[in-house]
Amino acid sequence: MEKILEVKDLHISFDIHAGEVQAVRGVSFDLYKGETLAIVGESGSGKSVTSKALMRLLPTPPSRIKQGEILFEGKDLAKLSDKEMQNIRGAKISMIFQDPMTSLNPTMTIGKQVMEAILKHQEISKEEARKRAVELLQLVGIKNAEMRMKQYPHQFSGGMRQRVVIAIALACNPKILIADEPTTALDVTIQAQILELMKDIQKKLGMSIIFITHDLGVVANMADRVAVMYAGKIVEIGTVDEIFYNPKHPYTWGLLASMPSLDHKDMELYSIPGTPPDLLNPPKGDAFAPRNPYALKIDYELEPPMFKVSDTHYAATWLLHENAPKVEPPQIVRDRVAKFAQIVARKGGGSRG
């Protein structure tokens, strides 16, 4: 598969009065053409900072890219000038945000907001841009698009606004769409509709999606691959099947265990004990060790490298070292893995594209 984006050892820090917040501490991943890569992790794990950094949307100061490369079409986005980056933003890489209630300009018509993105990147007349904007609104499932063009955001529901935001992001047929918790603020039925829409559009336009969420439940039916983030690092990455059927990192186990239950009689909701570390003073060794019931002595001393599980599956935990004691995931996780397998078997579908 063709690599479209390559992130290498990305470090991002915020310089604040109290010191340096090391929000992202060495993130590497590849994004392939046409795939959906989910980035999951608890709140504060650096998902938004990572994704905004790809778009160079972080304010500098206080943020800075300390180290690392973001390779896209032969260029390192981390080193582009503002002007060069503006030509990529919204044209080749687009982004949609979490809260549709606040992510549209309240005093500008929907039409103008969509057209603005088109006119910036394409040499076409206003009239053509208007036509294209109407088409985009229709594409994302907004009825009466002609009439809706003249309306303001407050005349749209949350779900409809998120559709508009998606239309803006799609204005120039981007190669990559970054969605930062695009459905977190929406209620469940609307959430399902928006996810369906995103899958649909991806099928039509063929772009790659980086889908950020803290909800593993969403990941299962959206993503091809999953990267699990903790304290500014990717701790496990693999295909959806690998992450759901064969998770290796105790943090991933914790996330799986704390997923809202899939069956009717609700099991007790699990949550990972403790809180994420303070990134102002990241701990020595494995940042997850203090919350990890399976932590080894070495976890407090030395950071684990990425151990290879398969060609597509890596996890950063000393448990994968050949000298480590053999540890099985906890019962609740094994139960769940079994349940996923059942559900998939019932649906008659195995692994995905």
């Binding site: 030509n87 933003r89 919204g90 005093t107 005349q155």
Partner: protein, 309 residues
């Protein structure tokens, strides 16, 4: 919308009526008498004069007559200025005051906005700190102190501009500056806060994610949205400016309404005091009304809430 406007107009009339009543009775409580050199008048002469102005009638009678005249647009006649109608006196004096107020509002708003926008864009840099210091000074220094300062340095020392009087445009510059400093300071401070808030909002991120230039983000998205709350402080600002003109006109010997108002108070010229107070109040109420309407025009959320659904 039409219903809303009608309702507001009714409220405005009621407010004015209350103000008219309050000023009337306050006037009755003022110590002293409108008659100058009373000691030289015989009791009979005093009686004749008081009779002539209706000041001997019982207060309720005076009140009803006053309201009746008011409805006809008659604010009475001055005790001091050769019995001339108050409306005429106001008409003569309104020109310089209006010019001064207008210039100060326009100049102050434009400069204040620019300063506020500049400070917000340069957030936490020397540009921002400088702009903040300027606005704190502008808010805390009373306009009359500044007026004296301007007169001394620019008028007397440098002799760039006339120190006082009202004989052409260059005479308007110093009083306009003195008046507009507090406008500049208030608007700049407010605009900076609003801009910073807007600049950190999600839709600015959406705009930047489209790839449009920073200038376009600020002009098309940030400024308009920051301006909306600014409109609300224009009302109080105008009040401020009006009271400011009272002092400034006296300092710069501007033949305006404020200067005449202050004089009429020291002379106990009841009709002029009441008439001018009412006139100021009416202007103020009107200004606030216009500000509210403007708010609806600029902000589509309010525009629709009020009307066609």
């Amino acid at each position: 919308m039409a219903r809303y406007v009608m309702k507001r107009i009714v409220y405005m009339v009621i407010t004015l009526f209350i103000i008219a009543t309050v000023t009337f009775f306050l006037m009755k409580l003022l110590p002293g008498s409108p008659l100058q050199n009373q000691e030289k008048l015989t009791p009979e002469q005093r009686q004749i004069i008081l009779e002539k102005y209706g000041l001997n009638d019982p207060v309720p009678v005076q009140y009803v007559r006053y309201l009746g005249n008011l409805l006809k647009g008659d604010l009475g006649v001055s005790f001091q200025y050769d019995n001339r109608p108050v409306t005429e006196l106001i008409g003569e004096r309104i020109g310089p005051s209006a010019q001064l107020g207008f210039q100060a509002i326009v100049f102050g708003t434009v400069v204040g906005l620019l300063l506020g926008i500049f400070a917000a864009i340069r957030h936490n840099t020397w540009g921002d700190y400088t702009a903040t210091v300027i606005s704190v000074l502008g808010i805390s220094i009373p306009s009359f102190v500044l007026a004296g300062f301007l007169q001394y340095f620019i008028g007397v020392k440098l002799q760039w501009l006339p120190v006082a009087f009202w004989e052409g445009f260059e005479y308007t510059i110093l009083p306009t500056l003195a008046l507009s400093v507090s406008v500049i300071a208030n608007i700049a401070r407010f605009m900076r806060t609003e801009m910073l808030e807007v600049l950190s909002s999600d839709y600015i991120l959406t705009a930047r994610a489209k790839g449009i230039s920073n200038a376009a983000v600020i002009v098309r998205h940030a400024i308009r949205n920051s301006l909306i709350p600014i409109i609300t402080i224009l009302g109080p600002m105008i009040v401020n400016l009006m009271t400011g003109t009272l002092v400034i006109e006296n300092i710069f010997a501007v033949p305006g309404l404020g200067e005449q108002f202050v004089r009429s108070i020291s002379l106990n010229d009841y009709p002029v005091i009441m008439g001018t107070t009412l006139f100021y109040s009416a202007l103020l109420i009107l200004a606030i009304f216009i500000v509210d309407i403007l708010y609806g025009v600029v902000d589509p959320r309010i525009r629709l809430a009020g009307g066609n659904k």
